[in-house]
Symmetry: C2
Subunit: 201 residues, 2 copies
């Protein structure tokens, strides 16, 4: 919120990491864009990797608490949880919407970086959350193997990432669609695929 040196660095780093990736972004480029001194990154974040982890954590902290509170509300509700409800609790906080347009592009970037860099970060930021949601899905679909549920959820994440994709656009001509149309198609696509598990072949 405040215009501190840390936040100036985080803002500049985020946009550059999104556009050029981690390895493609230099600390000099970050500090120049932020209007701060080169040594400020090492002073405040220890290293370039520490800065990257900090940019991720800044965005994901509030997202994950939102996910958890939505899931808790579902599980404690009168009607109980459903597949669609759980999916929505997981994806709604990161759905492209009115707020934070940078969020989706950063998430897509994270998943595009080499595992050696983001593996520990993903484990830290998503480890608990993912297990909680898979457990919830298992309770709703008791007959389905855990691996199948995880695989299906992984595919849904892939759809999300592709739609969020700030990266190269293979299919042109999508520009004619409204934002609402896209979101409608996206949620229908994922929930339709997820429903396949309920009628095992």
């Amino acid at each position: 919120m405040e215009d501190s040196t840390q936040n100036r660095i985080l803002d500049a780093a985020e946009s550059l990491f999104i556009e050029f990736g981690y390895a493609g972004t230099s600390m000099r480029a970050i500090t120049e864009k932020a209007g701060v001194n080169l040594a400020a990154i090492n002073y405040h974040f220890g290293s370039k990797e520490g800065l990257f982890a900090a940019t991720v954590h800044r965005r994901m902290a509030s997202i994950n608490s939102s996910r958890l509170s939505r899931l808790e509300a579902l599980l404690n509700s009168e009607t109980g949880a459903s597949v669609e409800g759980i999916l929505e609790a997981f994806f709604a906080p990161i759905l492209p919407g009115k707020t934070q347009p940078e969020l989706q592009r950063l998430i897509a970037r994270i998943h595009a970086e080499p595992p050696a860099l983001v593996g520990p970060i993903l484990e830290q930021e998503f480890g608990d959350i993912v297990n909680r949601f898979i457990s919830a899905l298992q309770q709703v679909m008791p007959g389905v193997a855990k691996a199948k549920i995880a695989f299906q959820l992984n595919m849904s994440l892939g759809v999300m990432l592709q739609v969020m994709h700030a990266g190269p656009i293979v299919f042109t001509g999508i520009t004619g669609m409204s934002h609402q149309q896209k979101m409608q198609q996206l949620m229908a696509f994922c929930s339709q695929g997820m429903k396949l598990l309920e009628t095992p072949s």
Copy 2:
């Protein structure tokens, strides 16, 4: 096929680009892994970018001709083309299978690189192909807007990329599934989502 210097460089570059990304891979690392001289890259491929484009083209050239011949066979067949048939013609040549295990990881890597790098390459390697397939889908689904078809195809590609993913894996516990199980779920997921267009809401 042959063990020429060019192919030694291409093999080494491919595996390193997959693992560390374009910017995260140095020409020194490539030439050392290939067992060739540092200057060989510039001599044979002009530049690091030229080498990257060559690695992509080597894999995609045969893939795209396979896609086109499959599509032609469909359009000229007695029964005519169907949505599933067109989708299969597009995705089957890159489906994870017995051969070329590096292919999927490279494709995932391509789509993870910054647009400034891979934009021109994607245009060159995929531009014609994508237009041909979208036109074919339009003929099979006359009432559906082109943008919606392209968007749906884009989401299907996202599922493919996530399953192929060379990158970080958020959902663990998928290891218990057989290869056939994964492919079955993947194709069911995509075709089920694609079918939504035939019954417009």
